[in-house]
């Protein structure tokens, strides 16, 4: 009885502001529960109803999250969770990723004879996990969010259940993902042990006021948490799981993972990263050496990702390695963020544009892929431009964008990132980064070579599904729009990180 009195009753109820800031989460949870029911309701074909419910709940959630991007910060559940511009920005990103991946999946699943409604339900669960990743301030909740997101993803990766590669990918992902989670959890335990708090803001406050709390256990805990996140974002040398997983997963899921899961991992990473005192002038913290270690990791990640991508002939694998390279660029942004005027804004901008162009590319790959995820080798694209001029045009836009050529979104965001790194004094890192990105130009353009400059010997003409065409067209428009007029996006990201 004594214990009950300790709980402040006001914590058990929620104010109306708090309810409304939970709107996006409620939409997604509600949508997934409803979808589960409709998946087993007789007479109504589940493949239609579930897709409609999923899309509707995502749209509802986007609308409700859009209000919060400018709203004030709202603390939830005694500070374990927060609803601010940062989380709203990422929520919109994840919701859009999920919606666009679903649009790309509908016909894909039909082609693969995999039309099971749980696919969409799992996507919604995973999306919910991502949203929590961006909004929790508590190491335990971060871990739970990570697991909600990852467990659904493990199943989705193995969704082509009759395919050996898909099963292998799921198994690999599960084992290595579990290992990464374990490392993260171990780090969490050590941080809690040395500071007595799970709240990441609290941890920073405590070590700042009481430097003697920074015991070796604290350092080890910090490092383990960082390594756990580096696993999740697939930085070299923690990337080993990634190419096989990305190749084995169903194509729309690969797109979903390279964008959504990566962005979610970075969203949580940034929050934790700040709380570990990087760039905050804490003496003797892991700050000093963290910079050097990340510097090296960023460099080898960019270099390794780009060089290995050069040798790939399978498009999914190529984009997987290019995603590693992109992690490297993002790490450059992480290193520079505390010392530059824009702070973490370039990372948000980069993640958003990377999501747009990468999802676009994977939507195209979903359209191209035949049964059993075939037809995704470079030579299958030979002469594609003659049969599908618009699809090739769209793919070319995405590839130019990934290569960072103006006037595309990839150009704007990559150089916004490098611009801020120069402000932080990381000139040599930026020089090396741009040289690495020249390597990238070669393999991106090679795809265009196949589409436009090779003879007509690739795939036969096929129908482009309307839903996928719609989402691809939207992403082309966004890629060009952000590329030509990036200032609005920059302003939004700046505002969002200002309150971080």
């Amino acid at each position: 009885m004594e214990a009950l009195k300790i709980v402040d009753p006001s914590l058990l109820g929620l104010t109306s502001e708090q309810y409304s800031s939970l709107g996006p989460y409620l939409w997604v949870v509600g949508g997934s529960l409803l979808a589960m029911i409709f998946a087993v309701v007789p007479f109504i074909p589940a493949r239609i109803s579930v897709v409609c419910i999923a899309i509707a709940s995502l749209i509802g959630a986007v609308v409700s999250a859009a209000h919060q991007i400018t709203a004030d910060r709202t603390d939830l559940f005694a500070g374990m969770m927060v609803s601010d511009g940062y989380s709203a920005f990422f929520n919109i990103l994840f919701l859009a990723t999920a919606a666009l991946s679903i649009l790309a999946s509908v016909r894909y699943l039909e082609k693969q004879k995999l039309e099971y409604p749980e696919y969409y339900v799992l996507m919604l669960f995973s999306t919910f996990g991502m949203m929590l990743m961006a909004s929790t301030l508590d190491l335990i909740s971060i871990f739970i969010a990570l697991e909600i997101m990852s467990l659904s993803a493990y199943v989705l990766v193995g969704f082509r259940r009759n395919d050996r590669r898909s099963n292998e990918a799921a198994m690999k992902y599960f084992i290595l993902g579990a290992a990464a989670s374990a490392i993260l959890l171990y780090g969490t335990a050590l941080l809690y042990g040395s500071t007595g708090s799970f709240l990441i803001t609290d941890i920073l406050a405590r070590v700042t006021t009481k430097p003697e709390l920074m015991t070796p256990a604290y350092h080890l805990g910090g490092w383990l948490v960082i390594v756990g996140f580096l696993f999740k974002v697939a930085a070299v040398p923690f990337h080993m799981w990634m190419p096989d997983v990305y190749e084995g997963a169903p194509t729309p899921i690969t797109g979903f993972m390279t964008t959504g899961i990566k962005a979610a991992s970075f969203a949580a990473f940034v929050r934790v990263f700040i709380s570990l005192g990087y760039g905050k002038d804490i003496e003797a913290a892991i700050g000093g050496r963290l910079h050097d270690v990340l510097w090296v990791i960023a460099l080898i990640t960019m270099f390794f990702g780009n060089v290995i991508a050069l040798t790939q002939t399978n498009l999914k694998r190529m984009l997987a390695y290019s995603s590693i390279a992109n992690t490297g660029y993002l790490l450059v942004g992480m290193i520079a963020a505390p010392h530059s005027e824009a702070g973490y804004a370039p990372i948000l901008m980069y993640l958003a544009t990377y999501t747009v162009m990468n999802l676009g590319a994977f939507s195209i790959l979903s359209v191209l892929s035949g049964k059993g995820d075939t037809n995704l080798n470079l030579h299958d694209l030979s002469g594609l431009a003659r049969r599908h001029p618009w699809l090739s045009f769209a793919f070319a836009v995405f590839l130019f964008s990934m290569a960072g050529i103006p006037p595309t979104a990839g150009f704007a965001s990559k150089y916004y990132l490098f611009y801020s790194a120069i402000q932080a004094g990381e000139i040599w890192l930026v020089v090396l980064a741009v040289l690495c990105s020249v390597i990238g130009v070669y393999y991106y353009l090679r795809v265009i070579v196949y589409m436009y400059m090779r003879e007509n010997e690739g795939l036969e003409k096929f129908a482009v599904p309307a839903l996928a065409a719609f989402s691809i067209a939207m992403m082309v428009a966004m890629t060009l729009q952000i590329g030509i007029l990036p200032s609005k996006m920059i302003a939004v990201t700046k505002k969002v990180v200002a309150k971080l």
Partner: protein
């Protein structure tokens, strides 16, 4: 109309793109006529620039400024001076010629071809009018995309290798330039309190230029690498012969006529005024490289069995003159260099066009396949002769004025190297005249050549403006100098004097 008068440069930059987008709606077989009409219209509009430009007025005229990315201090800032005026006119002048010359040569995917040509023009004019270094970079890079497709789709047998090499070479240089631009913008913030990439603002930034590895020198090298690749300066020229030989005729013409000028223009507009001390420090290096390029290009051209490759290497040699003219850092040399850029933009396109005409008839560019062409194609032979003489700088043609001024300017800077560079004039005569001899004169031995038709009316129309320009520029150079001399004086003042003073001061200390 009122809008056009106040936004002339914007109209000129984006009209081609708009025209190309509109052209997508019309059937493919009309797109060449549509594009020709557009490029002629554009040339007419660009003439307004000539009449509107007052050489004694403000430094940059027809200026426009719109906020673009305020967070990074980037504005849409355009304008032009007497140097960019002529390069813009060169671009718009060549464009109708290029389009008309492609009438028969291009049959595959016509609509895409002409759309890309127009898009390319937007990139080129945009780069010449940008007064913001970031904006310049955007146009400079965006320009690569259409050229990449033009070479890669309509090029020769090894087109993919050539176009990739072209793209990657340019990218390496320009990305380092971008890093340097960011660094400058950051320095501007440190010194003046706000980010800016506007050129006139960056001119004010003071940087340490005291040594070969000082900040200023490193930034200069980053810019110089981008421009030297584009020029192309020995030893970074290796992409050029590949790209020229594989590109379709129109691609070669634009590449030689305009894109190479972008390198020289970049030196004038960016590298020189931004880093005056570094330029002085590196002057000998570039003079040597320029002289080597002249002689090396000429020697290599001499032994080429392929006409197009010969002309390509002659470009390396001719652009070497531009480099030594610019790096002599005096008004005469700089004027000569700008003039030489225009000359090269007239005579080399003429040669490429005529090689293309022969190729359309015989489907070979090998010199040994020809001989005695004068007998079957007399008109063609006359035109070819004129272009050749212009290329070897015969007095009375445009080439003479440019090379003469450059050598005069270079003599003041470094007599020894000028002697070396001057031998290039002789070698130039050797390879060009030797080619003429083998292709045009001698007995008509090859059966296939006996039935060759002389120039058609369309081809005459294509070549005539170039022939007129060759003589006009050779006889009345003042017509051109009048509009550019103030701008060149400003350039030289800003660069040479600031640099020399700074270096002298350092010597005294």
């Amino acid at each position: 109309m009122e809008w056009l008068n106040t936004h002339l440069l914007t109209a000129l930059t984006f009209l081609p793109l708009a025209w190309a987008v509109a052209g997508m709606a019309i059937p493919g077989r009309f797109s060449k006529h549509w594009t020709l009409a557009g490029s002629l219209l554009l040339f007419a509009v660009s003439l307004k620039l000539y009449y509107g430009f007052d050489p004694h007025g403000a430094e940059f005229q027809f200026a426009e400024s719109v906020e673009w990315i305020p967070g990074l201090g980037v504005n849409y800032l355009i304008g032009m001076d007497g140097i960019s005026l002529w390069l813009i006119l060169l671009t718009t002048f060549l464009m109708p010629i290029v389009v008309l010359s492609s009438y028969n040569g291009v049959e595959d995917r016509e609509k895409e071809y002409y759309t890309l040509l127009m898009a390319l023009q937007t990139g080129m004019i945009g780069a010449f009018v940008s007064l913001d270094s970031f904006l310049f970079y955007v146009f400079w890079e965006a320009m690569l995309i259409p050229m990449y497709f033009l070479i890669g789709i309509w090029g020769g047998k090894d087109r993919i290798y050539a176009t990739m090499k072209f793209f990657i070479f340019t990218m390496v240089g320009s990305l380092l330039m971008l890093v340097a631009i960011f660094f400058l913008a950051y320095q501007h913030k440190m010194q003046f309190g706000s980010f800016s990439t506007a050129l006139v603002e960056l001119y004010k930034v003071r940087l340490d230029g005291s040594g070969f590895l000082s900040t200023q020198s490193l930034l200069f090298l980053a810019f110089a690498l981008a421009f030297a690749i584009k020029v192309p300066l020995f030893p970074l020229h290796t992409w050029l012969p590949d790209a020229h030989v594989q590109a379709p005729t129109a691609g070669s013409v634009i590449l030689a006529g305009v894109l190479l000028k972008m390198g020289g223009y970049g030196f004038i507009r960016f590298a020189f005024p931004l880093f005056p001390q570094a330029v002085v420090l590196y002057q000998p290096t570039f003079l040597v490289l320029g002289s080597v390029a002249i002689v090396y290009g000429a020697w290599v051209a001499m032994v080429q069995p392929d006409m197009k490759k010969l002309v390509a290497y002659s470009s390396v040699s001719h652009m070497g003159y531009v480099i030594i003219g610019l790096f002599s850092l005096n008004a005469i040399g700089s004027t000569g260099a700008v003039y030489q850029m225009l000359n090269h933009g007239i005579s080399t396109p003429a040669l490429f066009l005529m090689v293309g005409m022969l190729y359309e008839r015989r489907h070979t560019k090998e010199i040994k396949e020809y001989g005695g062409i004068t007998k079957v194609m007399p008109l063609f032979a006359v035109a070819f002769m004129i272009a050749t003489l212009s290329s070897v700088a015969l007095p009375g043609t445009n080439g003479f004025i440019g090379e003469f001024l450059i050598l005069l300017g270079a003599w003041k800077a470094n007599p020894g190297l000028t002697v070396l560079a001057a031998t290039g004039v002789i070698f130039g005569a050797v390879y060009m005249l030797w080619m003429i001899q083998r292709v045009m004169f001698g007995p008509l031995t090859n059966e296939a050549n006996k039935k060759l038709k002389d120039l058609s009316l369309r081809e005459i129309v294509v070549l005539a403006p170039l022939m007129v320009a060759i003589f006009w520029m050779g006889v009345a150079p003042n017509f051109f100098f009048r509009k550019m001399e103030t701008s060149i004086t400003r350039l030289v003042d800003r660069t040479a004097k600031a640099g020399a003073v700074a270096v002298a001061l350092k010597g005294e200390r």
